[in-house]
């Protein structure tokens, strides 16, 4: 097996999982409109973890594919194919095991990782092999561009945080509720940051290839922003636990560190003109459209994240659908768009022209995602005011009155799923043409 095909195998496996997460997501979203649907078979209790786990596996497997594509182009001869194959086999075991346990209603895990902890073992082993592969493949004799640092960061921290995710198996942690919930939020926040490092690194790599200008990947400003991103990944997670009775300094650290994200927003606004001219320059490249879309969603999610990180506003947003909107905005708007850009760029010629139909499908995904996001934001605002009201009605009446927002969310989700489904099938049917 050549290492060239390896990236392709990972991305194609990830695309199959993407199709399944779309299916589970659509079915799960219907629970908001028809709560009794599938309640005795696969109600939300099963569909939600299926959807979430499939979404996480889609991101992790395609992030792996992006790194393999990049490593293959940079250090082709050094990839250990046997190790890569073992890593893939472990992932397949894990994915099959997780979905076997969900279909049999065997849970026992926690939010986002609801499967039996036994299936975390192959995931951890696969990641350790990936980490070893990375360090034995890259050259330490060259000056590293920022994307190599970002890949290293994502790979290294993922394994630490993933193990931390299972500290609850130790009674010392499990018997202390507040500490346990703190660590759970710490893990959820930082783990997303870890895979974001891999995908943002891939984005840098892609732009390096599209523009042919590699200076940016070595500039001091780029490194400063990378370290700021890493700083946030490591320390800003406690903006999720302002209401939790932890030590006060933990909450303040989260608040203060989160506010440094203003620098990212100011940088985006400062470079607005340059961004527009970049879009005009590369818009003929189909893959670039997904990068432009990811940049738009970065901007939108950054504003949302900054608002949510202020504790006074967080009181209104925490535990509401605004949090889901943020999660969907980042995993679909940013992560998925970067992955699709990488898929089109790595699996076809950059200047390949696509039919008008494919361009319409691209816009269908964007409109669908915006409707889904907006529906969740509106439902979240409504719930936020409900939970702050002194004369609030019952929870069920609040949910009933939120139905118009849920309808917008469900409709947006279906349009998005159709769009992503068509793109996914298109990519799956592509021949194994991978440039080196």
């Amino acid at each position: 097996m050549s290492s060239i095909n390896l990236g392709s195998i990972y991305i194609k496996t990830a695309l199959v999982i993407l199709l399944s997460t779309l299916l589970f997501g659509c079915l799960a979203s219907l629970s908001y409109l028809f709560p009794e649907l599938l309640i005795d078979s696969f109600g939300l209790v099963s569909l939600r973890p299926m959807h979430v786990s499939a979404a996480i596996f889609w991101i992790l497997l395609s992030a792996t594919a992006c790194v393999y594509f990049g490593l293959n182009q940079l250090f082709h001869e050094r990839i250990n194919k046997t190790m890569a194959l073992m890593q893939y086999a472990l992932w397949i075991i894990a994915v099959l095991g997780v979905f076997y346990s969900y279909f049999n209603k065997q849970f026992g895990g926690r939010e986002y990782w609801e499967f039996n902890p036994i299936w975390a073992i192959p995931i951890a082993l696969a990641w350790i092999l990936f980490l070893i592969q990375f360090f034995r493949t890259v050259s330490f004799k060259i000056k590293w561009p920022v994307y190599l640092y970002m890949w290293m960061t994502g790979l290294t921290f993922f394994i630490y945080i993933f193990i931390e995710n299972y500290l609850w198996l130790i009674p010392y942690f499990n018997q202390n509720i507040v500490k346990d919930i703190s660590i759970q939020w710490k893990v959820n926040g930082s783990l997303v940051g870890a895979w974001n490092q891999i995908l943002y690194g891939s984005l840098f790599y892609l732009m390096d290839k599209i523009s042919g200008e590699s200076e940016m990947a070595y500039s001091k400003t780029t490194f400063a922003l990378y370290f700021l991103g890493l700083f946030n990944m490591l320390f800003n997670w406690s903006h999720h636990i302002y209401t939790l009775p932890t030590q006060e300094y933990i909450r303040y650290v989260g608040y203060l560190v989160s506010m440094t994200e203003w620098i990212f927003l100011l940088k985006t606004l400062y470079q607005w003109k340059a961004e527009i001219s970049e879009v005009k320059k590369y818009q003929s490249i189909f893959a670039y459209r997904f990068i432009a879309a990811a940049n738009f969603w970065v901007f939108l999610n950054l504003i949302q994240a900054l608002i949510m990180s202020v504790p006074a506003f967080n009181l209104y947003t925490h535990g509401t659908h605004i949090t889901v909107a943020h999660a969907m905005g980042t995993t679909i708007g940013i992560n998925t768009m970067i992955i699709l850009a990488a898929s089109f760029l790595f699996m076809s010629e950059p200047n390949k022209t696509y039919s008008k139909h494919m361009h319409q499908v691209f816009w269908l995904t964007q409109i669908g995602l915006f409707m889904l996001w907006l529906g969740l934001i509106l439902a979240g605002i409504y719930k936020g005011f409900w939970q702050m009201s002194e004369r609030a009605g019952s929870f069920s009446s609040m949910m009933e009155q939120s139905k118009p927002f849920f309808m917008l969310f469900v409709l947006g989700g279906f349009l998005l799923s159709v769009g992503l489904g068509i793109i996914g099938v298109h990519l799956l049917r592509m021949p194994k043409l991978i440039k080196s």
Binding site: V45, Q247, A312
Partner: protein, 139 residues
Amino acid sequence: MKPILVFLILCLSYLYYSWSIYLSSSHSETDPKIAQVISQGKLVWQKYNCQSCHQIYGLGGYLGPDLTNYAGQSGDRKLFLSSAIKSAAQQMPSFNLSETELESLYQFLVSLNKSGIAQPKEFEVYPWGMIKPLKHEQY
């Protein structure tokens, strides 16, 4: 400064911060027997995937209410919990919990309620944006 040095400094700071959280003291049950029952209750919560629909301190699903302070509400909460779990409501499927599981789940919810407040309206806002509960000894 070389990028790898900055990276290592951040890594070490993160490890220090993480371990300070692992070793920190916070609300916990002092009686080991009760602590074990509560711990079992938490595992029951996970086993039946309650988090798919319900939240604890805002973490979890959105189809049902947050249950952090469920045990502190008026009425016989234990009886209500038992009937809600065993007889399917409109949105909620029925679950076949044993009496032991039900008891430990209830003790878990009682302990959660003692640990703090999850209702946002029970908090006040400082001028600099930070929040603090109006009254609770755990904060």
